[in-house]
């Protein structure tokens, strides 16, 4: 078998298990809420309209946004429960994904439930009253059995939606089959993307068929089919659960943002911890704002961030001190205000920088951002998804009076493609990006010092602050990764040919540490 495929398939049991658990729990919760609500809505037209409108409204919110919205909501609830009961509800991972998916699953169940219950033959209902059934007997013996096939069809639709949408749980920190898709898209590993898509599609198909069997059984009053479908569904869920029940050691949760360098470093940290005998879980592909909150809340234990990012976005300062001063002050502030430990710098910077194709820059005579400013009105800027909304961009614009003809946001991988194809002229590059050397890009100087430095630092969550074993395991990484080494590792993952996995790049880093 192809090595890259084998590497992805090794991840399948864990991802599939988490995906199944999440989807099954969300669907169960959705059914548990939507069915009684459908009953109520079918009985009372006054309830029906607002309930259906609310469910339809939820359906119009893009899945990813709905998942993301639950994070700040749960952070608030988490703070409240921490105050009231001394225990914080986890705001990241399973819970927000569960709630968002359950909400999402409700519309088809509600819609079919109401249709099934209000569409019954009035003569049959009159007969039910006429033979002397109470309201409850009428519901249990006549209305529910007759509406069951329509309700089951709704549950079936909800199941397929839930399984598909659950792939979006990855960015809020819940492992799912979406991990294949998000990390594959990031590192242009199409095999990973395909494995994720096919696995999710197959899972949806199988579940749909099993629920179809139950629906058929419900329509024909065939308990054998209903029980067979249920039995296989339950057995499958339990089988998927087994890998999750296996591990019982202390597990360190390592976070990573949504780009190759983060995947590599998260893998590197993970293997060091595993070698030290710890169990490790990864939450990859977290948003930049979400990830720090998650660390501070203890949802993740360790991750790598950058001083400039923390300085502006977390500490909220807009001055730009020298590199060492910023590291010192960040370390102090984090310990004092958030209980977060800045364990130390890895040795390289991943600073925001503006980059152009080297020959283009030469032709225009541009060497620094100051040189670029007069040409900007004729040029187009390509930025990653965050850059244009970050304070750094505002500072840069103000310092140099930059005013581009057009600005366009891209997924980082596609941003480089856009520069290469000439769709944009200038990009927001990262100084540790391997593609700078590989694509012969010129990084423009920052003579006014408008951009802060971005030292890569290892952060520990408050509850791991005094964890000596963890500190010892990670110590050899500090100061051991120069920017050239990081660029090489990044390039292994990001290049178009002879592409390697983040895991391979992490092994490469581990072998060259400190050189």
């Amino acid at each position: 078998m192809d090595d890259r495929l084998a590497a992805q398939l090794r991840l399948l049991p864990d991802y599939l298990a988490q995906h199944v658990v999440l989807s099954a729990a969300a669907l169960a919760l959705g059914v548990a809420i939507a069915l009684p609500l459908a009953l109520l809505a079918a009985r009372r037209p006054a309830v029906r309209w607002p309930v259906m409108a609310a469910a339809s409204l939820v359906q119009t919110i893009p899945g990813l946004a709905l998942l993301a919205l639950f994070y700040p909501l749960l952070l608030g609830i988490s703070a409240l429960t921490a105050q009231a009961f001394g225990f914080a509800v986890p705001a990241l991972g399973f819970l927000p994904a569960l709630l968002a998916l359950a909400l999402y699953s409700m519309l088809p169940i509600l819609r079919n439930g109401v249709a099934g219950l209000t569409g019954l033959d009035p003569a049959v209902l009159e007969a039910a009253d006429g033979v002397g059934m109470t309201k409850r007997q009428r519901l249990l013996r006549v209305e529910l059995p007759l509406a069951a096939p329509v309700v089951m069809a709704g549950i079936r639709t909800a199941a397929v939606w839930t399984i598909g949408t659950a792939t979006l749980a990855t960015p809020v920190g819940q492992t799912s089959l979406g991990n294949f898709i998000f990390s594959g898209l990031q590192t242009e590993n199409w095999i990973a993307v395909l494995v994720g898509c096919i696995a999710a599609a197959l899972l949806a198909l199988v579940v749909d068929q099993l629920l179809g069997l139950i629906e058929w059984g419900a329509a024909r009053r065939d308990p054998v089919r209903i029980l067979a479908g249920l039995a296989v569904l339950i057995a499958g869920t339990l089988a998927a659960l087994s890998p999750l029940l296996a591990s019982g050691r202390t597990t360190y949760v390592i976070g990573a943002k949504n780009f190759s360098e983060q995947f590599i470093l998260s893998d590197l940290i993970g293997s060091r911890l595993e070698k030290a005998g710890f169990a490790v879980a990864h939450k990859d592909g977290l948003g930049s704002a979400v990830i720090f909150q998650a660390l501070a809340a203890g949802d993740i234990d360790v991750y790598v961030d950058y001083t400039g990012t923390l300085w502006e976005n977390v500490i909220g300062r807009h001055d730009v001190p020298p590199r060492d001063a910023m590291l010192r002050e960040t370390t102090r502030w984090m310990a004092a205000n958030k209980g977060v430990t800045v364990l130390g710098a890895l040795g390289f910077e991943n600073a925001y920088a503006l980059a152009m194709k080297a020959d283009r820059a030469r032709a225009l005579g541009v060497r620094t951002i100051a040189d670029l400013a007069p040409h900007a009105p004729d040029l187009r800027l390509g930025a990653d998804l965050e850059f244009l909304s970050r304070p750094e961009w505002a500072a840069l614009k103000a310092a140099y009076g930059l005013n581009f003809k057009a600005t366009q946001s891209y997924n980082p991988t596609f941003m480089y493609r856009a520069l290469d194809s000439g769709a944009v002229d200038v990009i927001s590059a990262f100084s540790s990006d391997g593609r700078i050397a590989a694509d012969r890009l010129a990084v423009l100087g920052d003579p006014k010092g408008a951009l802060p430095s971005y030292d890569a630092v290892v952060l520990l969550s408050p509850r791991r602050a005094r964890d000596q074993a963890l500190r010892t395991a990670l110590a050899p990484l500090l100061g051991a990764i120069p920017v050239e080494l990081m660029r090489q590792a990044n390039l292994m993952v990001d290049r178009a040919n002879d592409k390697r996995s983040p895991h391979d790049a992490a092994e490469f880093l581990a072998a060259h540490l400190g050189r």
């Binding site: 003569a123 049959v124 209902l125 009253d129 006429g130 007997q137």
Partner: protein, 264 residues
């Protein structure tokens, strides 16, 4: 009458704010064993009156007494299990077999299984359906067979009273006639008290021992078929009762005509 009436409707009124046939101060007493037909044009309030007896309709005014008890004081479900109810829509439960449909009220009453099975077999024979139909679903039956099951279901728990709302209205004339006659026989054999709504005066005349005429929510005539056929004081009653007589005369004329032609 020596004994008190089995069903007593006393000054009952009902109005529907959003349409529906109203009742205005209707009183009616039905003795045990009577077969009463309720006739009248559409919207006269026949169905409304019938349904006040098993509380499918709650009257605004007046009261209904069944077997000496004011029905307003009874649990409607308990009341309905004592009264057979058959209506034009039939309303067989499509997810239950014929046997389960027939046995539904005994099951609600908590009869033991063996007794229910025995009762279902008896009733199938009573309404002239083959015993093997017990295991079929209602979908597999013809319209006439379905209403036989409807009648059997209404009789299952051994009610003394049968309320029938145009029970054979949706059937073809031949089936309708044979089912009507068959039911009349059951009524006699089982000693039932029957109140049957029909818009077919001929059916009323042929089956019932007493006809009650409603118009605009009021009771306008009440008597034996012969008495009402002979009565010409109330024009509305006369018009209603004229129809079967006219039809009978025309049929007779046709028959006589045919004989003449045959002779010629």
């Amino acid at each position: 009458m020596a004994q008190p009436p089995l069903i007593e409707v006393d000054a009952v009124g009902k109005s529907f704010p959003r349409g529906g046939a109203a009742l205005r101060d209707v009183s009616l007493a039905i003795g045990e064993g009577e077969f009463v037909a309720l006739v009248g044009t559409s919207g006269a309030g026949k169905t409304t009156l019938l349904k006040t007896i098993n509380r499918l309709v709650e009257p605004d005014r007046g009261r209904v007494v069944v077997g000496g008890e004011d029905v307003a004081r009874l649990d409607p479900a308990v009341l309905r299990r004592r009264i057979g109810y058959v209506f034009q829509g039939i309303g067989l439960f499509p997810h239950m077999t014929v046997g389960e449909n027939i046995g539904v009220t005994p099951r609600l009453l908590g009869w033991p299984k063996a007794r229910i099975a025995q009762r279902v077999a008896e009733l199938l024979a009573l309404v002239d359906l083959p015993a093997d139909h017990a295991g079929r679903l209602p979908d597999a039956l013809s319209g006439g067979q379905r209403q036989r099951v409807g009648v059997a279901r209404a009789l299952a728990a051994g009610p003394k009273i049968m309320l029938m709302d145009e029970p054979f209205g949706a059937l073809d004339p031949v089936t309708r006639d044979s089912l009507g006659t068959a039911y009349r026989t059951l009524h006699e054999r089982l000693g039932l008290t029957t109140l049957m709504v029909t818009h077919d005066v001929q059916e009323a005349v042929l089956l019932a021992g007493r006809i009650v005429v409603l118009a605009g929510g009021r009771l306008i005539a009440d008597g034996t078929p012969q008495a009402l056929l002979a009565d010409s004081r109330n024009p509305a009653v006369a018009a209603l009762m004229a129809m079967p007589r006219r039809q009978a005369e025309r049929v007779q004329a046709l028959l006589a005509n045919g004989e003449e032609r045959h002779d010629g």
